[in-house]
């Protein structure tokens, strides 16, 4: 895993977060209590001289880890965050991929509508998903995600799309360029508080945190951020281990078909 210059990464992210605050009237951020969104909040604190100038939303289906609730509540207090908990209910009938059987999107829609947020900061990283298709820091929400460059908001030379280009809200991805190991390096350097679930106990740790149903531990002996980084430097498994392998094979075949090989 390639480690980048976190000082430069932070500048880029800080610019995007300030730009969001400047261009939109009602900004909020998603905060899961995981390492990525917590690092993002740290960047925002520094960019705004100590005070995070927007509310943070935790979409809670009630089956997150008890540690996550504690981490969330303690840090919200310590950092004086404006925490909004959007409760998502467990649906009576669940279909395939909806995580944890709850409809997080519905809960989010509700809270966005209730508060009238026009920009939502989401801490996704490109390296999370093998590929994160297009390089988009600002992604208008209600346009079709077509690869039609004429309709794509241009994201060039520090010009980002604002509300003017869309009627819904805009998703903002300030830490898109960070790699997993960069987040840890930043966490270490800035002493960002860490959810204890990331540390190993009895030979296992959690590498990315979802709810208690969908999160699978990985083998690890790392008991500190430093040790986590040392492990990541040599690991060859993807962050989201436990993804369904067959599904990826199907994609391979489909891609080959599309290319005219089959």
């Amino acid at each position: 895993m390639i480690m980048q210059n976190i000082s430069e990464l932070e500048e880029k992210s800080a610019y995007i977060i300030r730009e969001t605050k400047e261009k939109f009237e009602n900004v909020a951020a998603l905060w899961s209590g995981g390492k990525d969104s917590t690092a993002m909040i740290m960047i925002a604190r520094r960019a705004f001289l100590g005070k995070v100038p927007f509310p943070v939303i935790h979409i809670d289906n009630g089956i997150d880890f008890p540690e996550t609730y504690k981490f969330r509540d303690d840090l919200a207090k310590k950092w004086n965050l404006n925490l909004i908990v959007a409760k998502s209910r467990i649906k009576p009938e669940l279909s395939g991929f909806s995580c944890c059987g709850s409809n997080k999107t519905d809960a989010l829609k509700e809270v966005m509508k209730e508060h009238g947020f026009d920009a939502l900061i989401v801490s996704i990283r490109r390296d999370e998903h093998g590929i994160r298709a297009k390089e988009r820091y600002f992604s208008p929400r209600d346009t079709e995600f077509k690869w039609n460059y004429k309709d794509q908001p241009a994201e060039l030379w520090n010009n980002y799309s604002s509300k003017m280009d869309t009627k819904g809200h805009v998703r903002v991805h300030p830490i898109l360029d960070w790699n997993e190991i960069d987040i840890w390096q930043y966490t270490l350097k800035m002493k960002v508080p860490v959810n204890p679930l990331y540390y190993s106990s009895n030979g296992y740790r959690y590498r990315s945190l979802g709810c208690t149903h969908c999160t699978v531990p990985v083998k690890s002996n790392a008991r500190s951020v430093k040790q986590i980084m040392d492990e990541l430097k040599v690991t060859e498994t993807e962050e989201r281990a436990g993804r369904e392998q067959d599904k990826e094979k199907a994609y391979v075949m489909e891609k080959l078909r599309a290319l005219g090989y089959m």
Binding site: I2, Q4, G50, I131, F145, W147, A154, L156, W157
Partner: protein, 402 residues
């Protein structure tokens, strides 16, 4: 380690995916597992090993039911890391170039040496756009040399054709370098190939490494782009980004286009008060007595920036650029009149007279703005001389001053 983004240009089917796959293997940037999988897939299809199969573009992300495939591969070479981005088609590549994130100032261009392929209109279009986007150095990989029996004459013909076009478009002499390769056979990618003994130059990765590490030149004067304000307790501070030069606490600066001098009485970077900040820093500062707004630029007082409403620019058109457009530059928006007076001829790279620019074409225009701005050519300070054009809120094109 910095990851340097490599803009990969070139006609569809001239070997971009194969190149990335081969580089992943040759630089040992791909895991053995991934290589084995690619071998398996190749075998299943009853064909020889295809390095392009290593790319993780086989994983596809689905969003809104649509399949998008952009490939990014991270390649480590010597003490640097490079990220190659590949998109499937010509339109997608253009779209990615003009709408994607910022690029470095160098690109790699693939040109196939195979009979019937060679330098195409797409090749030339990519070069024109690259120049406009501020790419100053191009490494041209003349590919598929294995299919022309590694003939020197074929390589030289392509070099001559690309070289001439590049000079007409405005690349500086010596800023475009060439290497004959076979991406498929990994000839001249990381090591010099025994198949091409007549080539005395460096292999591709070394040329990319050199292009990426070449130092930026240009002026070192202060350019502070004002972004807005933030509140901290009872204080209101200005925010901004230093795109060039240095800024010190206590320094007197000239705020344009206001034309006012102001003293920076306090200066913050990353939440901490500091004595000086430099290029790349997002700053917060106090500046009593001056009301800088978004789009204002801070200079050193002794500098003499040009301000005005009219300038000439090179413009790339996505579709059609109407006479009246919205123009976004340095964070502000303006109404603008655009009068085109020339277009780049894609055959020669020279500018010919024209009063409109064709879709995906590039031309020269005179631009008149609704109010005064700092006018600085992109050659002087790339971050300042660039703008985006919108037609009724829809993205219409990009341009650079000068």
């Amino acid at each position: 380690m910095d990851i340097k983004r490599v803009t990969l240009l070139g006609n569809k089917d001239h070997g971009k995916s194969t190149l990335i796959g081969s580089l992943l293997i040759a630089t040992k940037s791909a895991t053995k597992q991934r290589i084995d999988e690619a071998k398996k897939v190749s075998m299943k299809l009853g064909r020889d090993f295809e390095p392009g199969f290593i790319l993780d573009s086989f994983e596809e992300e689905r969003e809104g039911g649509l399949t998008i495939d952009t490939t990014r591969a991270q390649i480590t070479y010597r003490d640097a890391a490079f990220e190659f981005i590949d998109v499937p088609g010509h339109e997608e590549l253009i779209g990615n170039m003009i709408s994607g994130a910022s690029y470095g100032d160098f690109a790699v261009l693939m040109v196939s040496a195979k009979g019937g392929e060679g330098v195409t209109e797409q090749t030339r279009r990519h070069l024109v756009l690259a120049k406009l986007l501020g790419i100053r150095r191009v490494v041209v990989a003349v590919n598929k040399m294995d299919m022309v029996a590694y003939k020197k004459e074929r390589f030289e013909a392509i070099v001559e054709s690309v070289q001439e076009f590049c000079m007409n478009v405005g690349f500086e002499p010596g800023s475009v370098v060439f290497v004959p390769v076979s991406a498929y056979n990994a000839d001249n990618l990381v090591k010099r190939s025994m198949h091409i003994r007549w080539y005395r130059g460096k292999p591709l990765m070394e040329l990319i490494y050199e292009a990426a590490s070449a130092r930026k030149k240009g002026n070192r004067g202060l350019r502070l782009l004002f972004q807005g304000t933030i509140k901290s307790g009872r204080k209101t501070l200005y925010t901004g980004k230093i795109v060039n030069g240095r800024l010190r606490r206590g320094q007197r600066i000239l705020v344009m286009p206001l034309g006012k001098n102001a003293v920076v009485s306090s200066l913050y970077v990353k939440g901490k008060e500091i004595g000086s900040a430099s290029e790349g820093n997002n700053v917060a500062l106090e500046m009593p007595g001056t009301h800088a707004t978004r789009g204002c630029i801070g200079f050193e007082p002794e500098s003499n920036p040009r301000c005005g409403t009219v300038f000439e620019a090179m413009v790339f058109s996505v579709g059609r650029i109407p006479k009246k457009v919205q123009l976004r530059m340095n964070g502000s928006e303006f109404m603008a009149d655009v009068s085109v007076f020339g277009e780049i001829d894609l055959k020669s790279g020279k500018i010919k007279e024209a009063n409109s620019i064709k879709p995906l074409g590039t031309g020269k225009a005179k631009i008149r703005l609704s109010r005064s701005v700092v006018i600085e050519s992109a050659a002087e300070c790339p971050e300042m001389g660039r703008f985006l054009l919108y037609d009724s809120g829809k993205f219409a094109g990009i341009g650079v001053i000068g």
